[in-house]
Amino acid sequence: MSALTLSGLIATALALAGIAWALGLGGRAALDRGRAMAEAEERLAGFAATEALVSEDGAAALVLGAHGELALVKAHGVELAVRRLSRFAPQPVAGGVRVPSGERMFGDVILKLSAAQCERLLRPSPESLP
């Protein structure tokens, strides 16, 4: 494979992704309470969701399990990705709370919440979701 062929293939890949964007394909998944809970239960073996706190923009959610465990759900393009949180260490940010997933490549997730919800979530060991 010559450098020219390789360049042509890379250009083609970029062009096709650009066409997908220009055609308005994709978008972002929108979460609600029911979908966040269902997703956590479907993706995490043995997880029984009891409550969910959904970001105001519908891009992420924190789901509480029956045994007190927490799951983090985020929009990944039009699909969703979920992680079981081994450590819950929320940090305050403007207009919400940042929840580290514990995995660098999965990243931190920002939940846009009301001031009261933020305050409750940032309390040490919240017994339930606000």
Partner: protein, 298 residues
């Protein structure tokens, strides 16, 4: 005899068909394609071709070396071509099943499954480390049998080209006779799904008969739509992470595992296996799902 590389010849058709499927998605369901996911898939496809060039010489050398010990002189007859294509597909089945059941092999193959979309761009989402995973070893028996190396490599290329068009949701089910014998979009959707019912099923390349024969066939159901991807969804569009994440996982597990026996098991046991049983494998997920079904049926 010099034979062309079917994959290189098919690239223009691949591009045009991806484009056509995108236009179809524009009118049917815009969620069928995601630009960033598409870019990741196509970049992995380009990388796969580049990696193939780098390792191609070594694969050919291994093929020629194995052919030196051939049992038969099969030559360039038409029936040898047909037999080669069929047996190569059987070798592909063995490779593919192993690629889902042995973590060392899975570390490369997982790339192909790491998209949560199922479209023609996903078909091109191919591994960069196949040589390292010894994928070529599954075809060595064909050279030892006596098939010409270039004939086997040509058939292997045809096999991969065939598999391109079955990565689509645009085609429902084909006539019953075709679904009975050939791998189809419906059968392969099952293979890419993470629903417990569909896990580790339909490994076929071209002929679905291998799955029917070896007990790994599962039909697609109208009442259970496949959900695509991997158990532990990446949650990232990073090309490099998609290409190497499982190798990094193997490295971490190998490093932290207690004792050499466990270290070795992290290389050769099924994906998800852990020395303390703290993780899920496809078997444990399926068993739990079956138990839940049995419980509900009481």
């Amino acid at each position: 005899m010099t034979l062309p590389n079917p994959i290189e010849l098919a690239i223009p058709a691949f591009v045009l068909l991806v484009l056509a499927e995108m236009v179809l998605a524009r009118y049917r369901d815009r969620r069928g394609y995601c630009p960033r996911d598409t870019l990741t898939s196509l970049s992995l496809g380009v990388g796969n071709l580049a990696a193939g060039v780098l390792s191609g010489g070594l694969v050919l050398a291994a093929a020629v070396a194995a052919h030196e010990y051939r049992l038969f002189e099969l030559g360039w007859t038409w029936w040898a071509f047909v037999l080669c294509f069929v047996l190569d597909d059987l070798a592909y089945y063995a490779f593919h099943r192993s690629a889902h059941r042995v973590r060392w092999f899975w570390a490369s193959h997982v790339i192909h499954h790491s998209s949560q979309h199922y479209n023609l761009a996903t078909a091109l989402r191919q591994p960069w480390t196949s040589f390292f995973s010894l994928a070529f070893a599954f075809r060595l028996p064909l050279f030892v049998l006596g098939f010409e190396p270039s004939m086997v490599l040509f058939c292997a290329g045809l096999n991969l080209v065939y598999q391109f068009w079955i990565h689509t949701e645009a085609i429902g089910r084909l006539p019953r006779a075709i679904e009975a014998v050939m791998n189809t979009p419906s059968h392969h959707r099952v293979h890419h799904a993470v629903n417990p019912r569909y896990l580790d099923r339909n490994y076929a390349g071209v002929f679905i008969v291998w799955d029917r024969l070896f007990g790994t066939f599962e039909p697609e159901r109208d009442d259970e739509r496949p959900r695509y991807g991997i158990i532990h969804q990446l949650g990232s569009f990073s090309i490099l992470w998609a290409a190497f994440h499982e190798w990094i996982g193997i490295g971490r597990d190998f490093w932290h595992a207690p004792g050499w026996r466990n270290k070795l098991r992290y290389l050769v046991r099924e994906p998800g296996w852990s020395h303390d049983g703290s993780r899920d494998t496809t078997d444990s997920i399926r068993a739990r799902w079956l138990a839940r079904g049995a419980e509900a049926g009481k």
